[in-house]
């Protein structure tokens, strides 16, 4: 059997948050009437599922076994649960699922009513990821979130009531104006709700976002100790400086560890046995199939992603015959995929090794030397001996129990370390 993770992208939001650079459209900005557009999107998603399943079946000797499905966005919780059920049903018709398959779903507290959560649960969603970001209303407002802290708490309670026993809470650190205390406040509030999983991301100021316009000048250059003349003049230094940022983050890590949450990746925490399968797939270089606008895939050591052009995506599957009336040959059915799949990159052995290292090192337990040897037929020392030795000496990496992993300082400057593993 060939294990597979499936990622499904839902690119619609009530409105765009000020920091977000994900591929999504605010409802009121989509071309044409929103409801109708979403309807067409789900039709296309179903057609893509059919086509992708057909293509996988044709290209693969081993039968595929889906171990997890992840609905991400955008705001999946904005969608009609009925359509989510349809997609899941279609996936189950097309693919074999493992018995314990993990079905995750991203949810914005401002869009998830009690009823909707129950419907989603009934549709087969088993794991809910709630985008809380902060339990401080001022911070939420600044981020441009559509919900308040109390709505987030209610959403969590509703989810529990609806029967979700595997819930993640997303939080953000290093927000403009955020203090160590306000961050710890949010962390404690999250802990008090006792989610199974928690993600704590340090804010990244992404180009093309309103935050970029506002704060780009304040972002410290990780590589150079330069004074930014603009920053000195504004007097509006909102972002925590890098030392404060690291301190507040480390304090939060400590708080979470004390509450029993293990930091298993740079930004992810879980109770025992509750690590997110979908995420692990990415870092361990398992295979994943991305469906929907802009979704990325790794199949047969080839990376590709779907078009980010909504119109193009919808057009590719327009007029696709619903599965029940299928009379098309396999070839005709998979043909639209060639119109949406882009940026195809066949990974060389060297690229695979690089990825193995820089993705694997994101995990707290790091990379397993025996897995490297098994995958590439060479020992990790043979390929990276010198780099390993230097960085262990510099206190950035450690080596124990057949694993290589980042130290705390190595984690703080992990890009610096990871860049050394490029061949």
């Amino acid at each position: 059997m060939r294990p597979l993770s499936v990622y499904i992208h839902i690119p619609f939001c009530v409105r765009k948050c000020a920091y977000c650079d994900f591929l999504s459209f605010p409802e009121d900005q989509g071309p044409g009437e929103a409801g109708k557009l979403q309807g067409r999107y789900f039709d296309a998603l179903l057609a893509e599922t059919d086509a992708a399943a057909e293509k996988l079946k044709r290209d693969s000797a081993a039968a595929v076994l889906v171990r997890c499905v992840y609905f991400g966005g955008g705001t999946p919780s904005l969608s009609d649960p009925e359509r989510i059920r349809e997609v899941l049903t279609r996936l189950e018709e097309r693919f074999a699922f493992s018995e314990d398959a993990e079905i995750s779903f991203e949810c914005n507290p401002g869009t998830a009513s009690c009823d909707k959560l129950q419907e989603l649960r009934r549709a087969g969603i088993g794991r809910l990821s709630i985008g809380v970001q902060s339990f401080d209303d001022t911070e939420l407002q600044l981020l441009g979130r559509i919900h308040t802290a109390s709505q987030a708490v209610r959403c969590f309670e509703d989810a529990r009531a609806a029967g979700f026993d595997n819930i993640n809470i997303d939080l953000m650190a290093a927000l403009p104006g955020q203090t160590r205390e306000s961050l710890l406040g949010s962390v404690r509030q999250a802990v008090s709700l006792a989610p199974e999983h928690l993600s704590l991301y340090s804010l990244i100021i992404e180009e093309g976002t309103p935050f970029y316009e506002r704060y780009a000048g304040e972002v410290p250059d990780p590589h150079f100790d330069r004074r930014d003349p603009d920053r000195a003049d504004t007097g509006l230094s909102h972002l925590p400086d890098e030392i404060t940022e690291r301190e507040m983050l480390h304090a939060a890590w400590k708080e979470l560890a004390a509450a029993g949450y293990e930091r298993y990746e740079i930004s992810n925490f879980a109770l025992r046995g509750r690590r997110c399968r979908q995420n692990l797939t990415c870092w361990e270089r398992g295979e994943y199939l991305g469906l929907g606008l802009g979704a990325a895939s790794l199949l047969d050591e080839t990376r590709f992603s779907n078009t980010r052009d909504l119109h193009r995506y919808l057009e590719a599957f327009r007029g696709s015959v619903p599965a029940e009336e299928k009379t098309l040959s396999g070839g005709e059915q998979t043909e639209p995929l060639s119109r949406i799949r882009e940026n195809t990159e066949h990974l060389s052995a060297a690229s695979q090794m690089e990825e193995f290292m820089f993705l694997g090192l994101r995990l707290t337990e790091g990379v397993r030397e025996e897995r490297f040897a098994a995958a590439f037929g060479r020992s990790v020392d043979e390929v990276y001996g010198e780099v390993l030795e230097k960085h262990i000496r510099d206190g950035l990496l450690m080596r124990a129990d057949g694993r290589i992993f980042l130290t705390d300082y190595g984690t703080d400057i992990s890009n610096y370390v990871m860049a050394k593993f490029l061949l």
């Binding site: 340090s202 804010l203 990780p222 590589h223 890009n415 610096y416």
Partner: protein
């Protein structure tokens, strides 16, 4: 062989950007040597760098045939001269090969400092000068005003100067007619012993050195033994010919008044120095042509291969460049910081930049360049005098009696609005004010004596920025003067970096040291530890900065769709690391060595 009264030998002189090369192109096009389709713009500027920067580095010559209004066919030899003060001596030799000059003046700019300098140079060589007003197609052109200015400032008749647009191609015929009617035919006697002036030479791997020369007397033909008066070398002529555009056209013989080339299986370009006189071995001329001097490099710097393994390639490249450029000097040197490289001598900073660029482009070498330095004279207490080309070699201060530095006399032409700003600049650069001469109500020539080491870095840029581009500058070396100089050393993480040491006037040491430290702080990437940067004079720290340790370089999110992007980010990071130099435990980007020296005007 041509009748000498049907020959005109001339050059074009102009201030930079006044359109010299464009006019040269038009003349070539008009005389039908090449059609415009065959011509790449600016035929005479052969090197990529020349074309891109719009400057001429090597002298070039071209022979054109023109049927004038009088129905007669004339041979026009146009010699293009380098257009930069760095190459002043080459300019003077090119001018000496001519009988007349076309003076191109921009109708929108008028007379500039370089215009003056070049015209005086031409007049010094007894050249007849024909002014030409260019760029009359521009709306801001004021030809009449410029004509008056030429008469007032330069003192040559200009009312009937051709008004042309070389760019558009109008008035070109008029220029050619003026060349014929107003410039003299060459003199000289064919029957006299050979007397020819070398105005340039290039190296060809098959033919050896190709000597560019102007014959004043006698003739030169294949098989004739010739000798070079200054260098004493002799050789037998293999080929003579003249210059077609972009190629050499062999002919039987060159005679008095003609411009052309010869080859003589000469392997060493140093035997054929620009300015030297060529004569026959059997019937030598009585005396050499006047004006020969050996050019001495004025600016030195260390050039190192970024990758030490490519030292041999750098040596070969320098050797090849020197074949075509006798003024380039180099000798091996070693730096603790940079490894094995060469101390190279140049005519000036432009010459340095050109050589650096050619090494990078034509030989694909990554280079690290140290601070350019002038030649200081160090007088030791034991009476010995050292010419110091590398600051690192400065003897122990206790053994130094005193030091001297080269001084230039400079002329800055500037509109009166900016006189204050320019005077302040010269003051800051330790200039000694001599005089202000008003050319007209709104323009003046400021005369200063300036230390050469104050103008080799960024003086031109500062001049342009403080005058909004309106000031122009020309200088010549005046001599050496005693000066209170000290060696400034830079320590990075407590280790002295020899490549960053330089000589500076004691009064400016603190400012320079401070700026160097500030600049280095910006150029040195953060490491895992704090890096102190210190400037010292005689072991005493005069300035200090600190590069803070790396604190945070982490990507919070990395999921399925981010992986390709993440990899690109890491690749970029790795790419940056490649171009680093290890100094002790600190990695320094190679370009930092030059960047820290380019102290911006606003700093």
């Amino acid at each position: 062989m041509a009748e000498s009264k049907k020959i005109r030998n001339f050059c074009i002189v102009a201030h930079i950007d006044h359109g010299k090369s464009t006019l040269a192109d038009r003349l070539i096009e008009k005389t039908g040597v090449l059609t415009s389709r065959e011509m790449q713009a600016q035929v005479l500027d052969n090197m990529d760098i020349e074309r891109e920067r719009g400057i001429t580095i090597k002298s070039q010559a071209v022979r054109m045939v023109y049927t004038a209004a009088d129905g007669q066919e004339y041979i026009l030899n146009m010699i293009d001269t380098p257009g930069h003060v760095d190459f002043g001596y080459e300019v003077s030799r090119s001018l000496a090969a001519c009988d007349g000059a076309i003076l191109v003046i921009d109708a929108t700019q008028g007379v500039e400092a370089q215009t003056l300098a070049n015209v005086y140079l031409a007049l010094d060589h007894d050249l007849e000068v024909v002014p030409v007003i260019n760029k009359i197609d521009l709306p801001s052109a004021e030809p009449q005003k410029v004509k008056d200015e030429i008469e007032d400032v330069i003192g040559i008749e200009a009312q009937d100067a051709p008004c042309i647009s070389a760019k558009v191609g109008t008035g070109i015929e008029e220029v050619l007619e003026a060349v014929i009617s107003r410039l003299p035919a060459p003199g000289g006697e064919k029957s006299e012993p050979l007397k020819a002036l070398i105005f340039d030479s290039v190296y060809d791997s098959y033919k050896g050195v190709i000597v560019f020369c102007r014959l004043f007397d006698g003739s030169i033909r294949r098989g004739m033994p010739v000798k070079f008066l200054a260098t004493g070398a002799s050789a037998e002529v293999v080929e003579v010919g003249y210059f077609g555009p972009g190629r050499f056209i062999p002919c039987e013989e060159l005679t008095a008044g003609e411009v052309g080339y010869f080859t003589a299986s000469i392997k060493n370009i140093a035997d054929t120095r620009v300015g030297d006189t060529v004569t026959g071995v059997e019937k030598p001329c009585a005396e050499a042509l006047p004006g020969y001097k050996k050019v001495m490099p004025m600016v030195y710097c260390g050039i190192y291969p970024a990758d030490n393994a490519r030292y041999g390639e750098l040596r070969d490249a320098l050797e090849k460049l020197q074949l075509n450029d006798a003024s380039l000097f180099y000798e091996p040197e070693t730096s603790q910081a940079l490894g094995f490289g060469f101390r190279c001598g140049f005519l000036g900073l432009l010459h340095l930049e050109v050589i650096e660029e050619r090494l990078q482009r034509e030989y694909d070498l990554d280079l690290v360049t140290t601070a350019p330095s002038v030649v200081y004279r160090v007088y030791k207490t034991d009476g010995e005098m050292i010419e110091l080309t590398n600051p690192s070699n400065l003897p122990d201060p206790s053994s130094i009696d005193y030091m001297e530095e080269p001084i230039v006399s400079g002329e800055i032409m500037v509109t009166t609005d900016y006189i204050g700003a320019i005077m302040q600049l010269c003051q800051e650069r330790r200039g000694k004010y001599l005089s202000t001469d008003y050319i007209e109500q709104t323009r003046a020539v400021l005369k200063y004596e300036l230390p050469l080491n104050e103008i080799i870095y960024d003086f031109f840029d500062a001049l342009k920025s403080r005058s909004r581009g309106y000031a122009s500058f020309d200088y010549e070396i005046k001599g050496y003067e005693r000066s209170n100089l000290v060696k400034l050393d830079i320590l990075i993480n407590k280790e002295q970096v020899d490549a960053l040491s330089f000589i500076v006037h004691a009064d400016g040491a603190y400012e320079r040291g401070k700026k160097m430290c500030e600049r280095l702080k910006e150029e040195i990437p953060r490491h895992l530890f704090e890096i102190p940067i210190q400037a010292t004079v005689g072991g005493r720290v005069i300035a200090r900065e600190t590069v803070k340790a790396m604190r945070k370089d982490v990507l919070a999110k990395c999921y399925g769709g981010d992986i390709t992007r993440k990899k690109k980010l890491l690749e970029k990071q790795k790419e940056g690391k490649k171009k680093m130099r290890q100094i002790g435990s600190v990695e320094i980007p190679q370009n930092a060595f030059l960047n820290v020296l380019k102290l911006g005007d606003e700093d």
